[in-house]
């Protein structure tokens, strides 16, 4: 009888949380799953496009003296590739995974600030357009993914290529900050009763640390690019040495963001890995406390290493030694984590399905990238290796191995939850082996090319250098990986309809997201779960303990205390709204306008203010839909 009552309550809740149909529903939704899904699809589309750019560059370098691209086109290709991968793929895709997963892992119905999540996506989309529309108009940034002055300053880069890059950063960073604030507040204030900090799944710890790091690191790059735009637009002198400015200020600000950024990309991956290793080893994670402490210490240490990107600019010797030591120190917590995962797999009953294969691929590749990282952390060695292909190899090992492989693991792991269908295991394994082998064949030779002296960012080379064979091998490897990527995409598309039905919990997962339907309904959970352990689904008792009593008339979420997750009050959760989109459009007009005239900051702020007032305009509760 109680079950029947719950079912009728759930039908009412479902009606409150449902979006309007059609285009209006699409534009106004604040459903975290829908917003995250479009975020993820956009990032993956860009991953493919920027990957094709990489393939194009590899074809150009496959033989000495190729003429597919001239130097200008090549500069544009690597600038677009790097800027897209770092700013439009790696960071946003992790934020997007969090927007999708965090409420589900918390047994909640939405994020803390639903409209902020929508605003974040629209602004991010603005950043995508900011970079790629000008590219279609042949105004492509061409100074790499970090645009140092004086080269990017008004004297040496007239026109708008540098401005476009700088303002693309502003778009994406504001979007990432909005997402981070949302994630932090959701994790700290929307945990279900019983989920104390010490019982939080490691993924939530990872996203908490990442989001706090984002909030502290991203202002630095926004400041760097804003000062650059000011130098270019209104004649400030921040980076003009002959007027008291200093070009290294840009590098300090950029890398104060840039190095934490590497961990902002990597730490969410740590969260994916921990979730997947636990499920597929069929035992609770080994060394949970060590893992949490390692995450926090990585987060702190990451802010103390930025200068190792600047060893070649001439530093005091003590400075170089300090940053060498700090850079090597961060290998310790990362190493501890890897041992914890290996211990979990080793002492569990591992099941080698595709997600776990990706994790093992990650461990191999990331350890190699970590070793070349320890090498480049050493100031004297770095002086030899900087700006060579060794660095290109290193950064791809850590970013592809350390973040993309875990991302693919996560996509295959949670795909059944998001779509209700299983991916093909067989094709999943084929795509894993092709990408893993192709990646290593493609990027390992670059270490050797770097040691042989091949500089990065050259559009071609001559035959006498002897770099031809290894470059051909590298290009071949990238082709193999591309074939694997095509299979991965095809598998995902075909399985949407053709895959086996997944059910709620196809892998026997340990965390709350496996307790709701696949795909989750708009309201996610029928009632508020109560949590009694770190692995709430691995319990003796079959039934899930829940609390009822959230409103059946308006959208509500439960707010709990940040430490012990004691229920505090029922918070009204805003429904669908067009204002986040309008606010993002107004903000976008301001950002784009400020490339051309400083008055855009004055006049452009009026529509922004109007849109924000509309957003926050208090409406009586009865006006909320149904």
């Amino acid at each position: 009888m109680q079950q029947a009552e719950l079912a009728s309550e759930e039908a009412r809740v479902a009606a409150i949380w449902r979006d309007k149909p059609g285009l209006w529903g699409f534009l106004t939704t604040v459903d975290h799953k829908r917003i995250a899904a479009r975020y993820i699809v956009t990032t993956l589309a860009l991953l493919i496009v920027a990957g094709i750019l990489a393939l194009d560059m590899r074809l150009q370098l496959s033989q000495p003296g190729m003429e597919r691209m001239g130097p200008q086109r090549y500069n544009e290709a690597f600038s677009l590739h790097g800027s897209t991968m770092l700013f439009l793929v790696s960071v946003p895709v992790m934020e997007a995974m969090a927007l999708w997963l965090v409420p589900l892992m918390l047994g909640q119905r939405n994020m803390a600030y639903p409209r902020l999540a929508a605003y974040s996506y629209w602004l991010y989309l603005g950043g995508v357009l900011m970079l790629w529309v000008p590219h279609a108009l042949d105004v492509t940034p061409d100074l790499g993914w970090f645009e140092y002055p004086p080269l990017s300053g008004p004297t040496y880069s007239p026109g708008h290529r540098a401005d476009i890059w700088a303002q693309m950063i502003t778009f994406t960073e504001v979007a990432a900050l909005a997402a981070s604030v949302n994630v932090v507040a959701t994790i700290l204030k929307l945990r279900p009763p019983g989920m104390t900090l010490a019982r939080m799944p490691l993924f939530l710890w990872a996203m908490l640390v990442t989001s706090l790091m984002t909030m502290l690191a991203l202002p630095a790059v926004m400041l760097a690019t804003s000062l650059l735009i000011a130098d270019r637009l209104v004649g400030t002198q921040f980076f003009s040495p002959n007027a008291g400015g200093d070009v290294l200020l840009f590098q300090h600000l950029f890398w104060f963001f840039g190095h934490p950024e590497v961990y902002i990309i990597f730490i969410p991956a740590v969260g994916f890995i921990s979730a997947i290793v636990e499920t597929f080893s069929r035992r609770p994670l080994f060394g949970y406390t060590v893992q949490v402490l390692a995450l926090i210490s990585i987060g702190l240490l990451a802010f103390g290493l930025w200068v190792h990107h600047m060893f070649a600019v001439g530093l005091p010797r003590l400075g170089a030694s300090f940053y060498t030591a700090a850079s090597m120190a961060i290998a310790l917590p990362v190493g501890l984590q890897i041992f914890c995962w290996i211990a979990t797999i080793g002492s569990g009953r591992p099941r080698y399905d595709t997600p776990l294969l990706w994790i093992i691929g990650f461990i191999v590749t990331f350890v190699l990238g970590g070793l070349s990282g320890v090498m480049t952390a050493s100031a004297p060695l770095d002086l030899q290796l900087t700006d060579t292909y060794f660095v290109v190899a290193h950064l791809h090992y850590v970013l592809v191995g350390g973040a993309m492989f875990p991302l693919f693991a996560a996509l295959t792991y949670w795909y059944p939850k998001a779509t209700g269908r299983m991916l093909s295991e067989w094709w999943g394994k084929v795509s894993f082996w092709l990408i893993f082998a192709g990646f290593n064949i493609g990027f390992f030779p670059m270490h050797i090319l770097g040691l042989m002296g091949m500089p990065r960012r050259i559009y071609t080379y001559e035959e006498w250098t002897g770099w031809g064979t290894l470059n051909l091998v590298a290009s071949g490897g990238v082709l193999i990986a591309s074939a694997g990527a095509s299979i991965l995409v095809a598998n995902a598309l075909f399985s949407l309809r053709g895959g086996r039905r997944a059910g709620a919990d196809p892998w026997g997962g340990s965390t709350l997201e496996w307790d709701c339907a696949s795909p989750p309904p708009p309201h996610n959970f029928p009632a508020t779960p109560v949590v009694e352990s770190r692995t709430p689904l691995w319990r003796q008792e079959h039934a899930q303990a829940v609390m009822t009593g959230l409103s059946l008339k308006r959208r509500e979420v439960l707010i709990t205390s940040p430490g012990e997750a004691v229920p505090e009050y029922r918070q009204y959760s805003p429904g669908p709204s067009i204002w986040p989109l309008l606010s993002a459009i107004a903000t976008g007009i301001l950002f784009v306008g400020s490339i051309f005239t400083p008055w855009a900051l004055v006049w452009g702020s009026i529509p922004v203010a109007v849109a924000l007032i509309g957003w926050f305009w208090p409406r009586p509760v009865k006006e909320e839909p149904r």
Binding site: L6, Y113, V181, F238, G244, A502, A504, P506, M547, E556
Partner: protein
């Protein structure tokens, strides 16, 4: 798009049954103070913006330490008078701000309305004094890196000042509507918290803009 998610048996791939262990219906539907969700958003944005202020301060110290003169010879430091006037008025506004916060906590609508009107008025006066400050910085932003930095710090703080005054004005208008909701009291309290931030961040910026050029010395 949703399948029925009524409780079912796990063995069939469906959902587990539910066991109700309590009800949340007796909880309040709004609270004021640190437990309120929106306070966490305000604090988070203060953290981001505070980091921005700190980095601007660090950039100022970095450029000043390059040994090219702070200010460069021939440039006078900003005039003290308007800066001092602004600082005194701003600190006075903080006393008023705390009073407004108490009215919000007490759900004293009349007091809150009066306080919000007053603090909006003080904010407008502050913006006026700020305009006078900007006219007496004695350097243009395009003159040299020193000038650029002074303007950076001032523009950064001014943008926060204007934003918060505008925000306060809008919230004040809402308080004069017919139907007042409980969350407008907690919202007013959040606004007071943000005003604290605008006041507190000014003090280091005041030091960097007005006092550092006097004590750091010329080239």
């Amino acid at each position: 798009m949703s399948e029925s998610s009524q409780p079912h048996d796990q063995a069939s791939g469906k959902l587990r049954p539910l066991r109700v262990v309590g009800s949340l219906s007796s909880l309040p539907d709004n609270v004021i103070g640190a437990a309120n969700l929106n306070v966490w958003g305000v604090v988070a944005f203060m953290m981001i913006e505070g980091m921005g202020f700190a980095l601007c301060g660090a950039a100022a110290l970095y450029l000043a330490s390059q040994g090219k003169g702070w200010p460069p010879s021939g440039t006078a430091p900003p005039d003290l008078s308007f800066g001092i006037a602004f600082t005194i008025l701003l600190l006075a506004s903080e006393v008023l701000n705390r009073w407004v916060d108490r009215k919000a906590w007490a759900h004293d609508l009349a007091g809150l309305r009066l306080g919000m009107v007053l603090i909006t008025a003080v904010g407008v006066v502050l913006i006026g004094v700020r305009a006078l400050e900007l006219m007496h910085l004695n350097v243009r932003w395009s003159d040299n890196a020193y000038g650029s930095t002074i303007w950076l710090l001032m523009v950064l703080h001014t943008s926060h000042l204007i934003t918060d005054v505008a925000d306060t004005a809008v919230q004040t208008e809402w308080l004069f509507r017919k139907e007042i909701e409980d969350k407008q009291f907690s919202g007013a309290s959040d606004n007071c918290l943000y005003w604290d931030f605008v006041v507190l961040t000014w003090l280091p910026i005041w030091g960097l803009v007005y006092w550092m050029p006097r004590f750091w010395g010329g080239s």
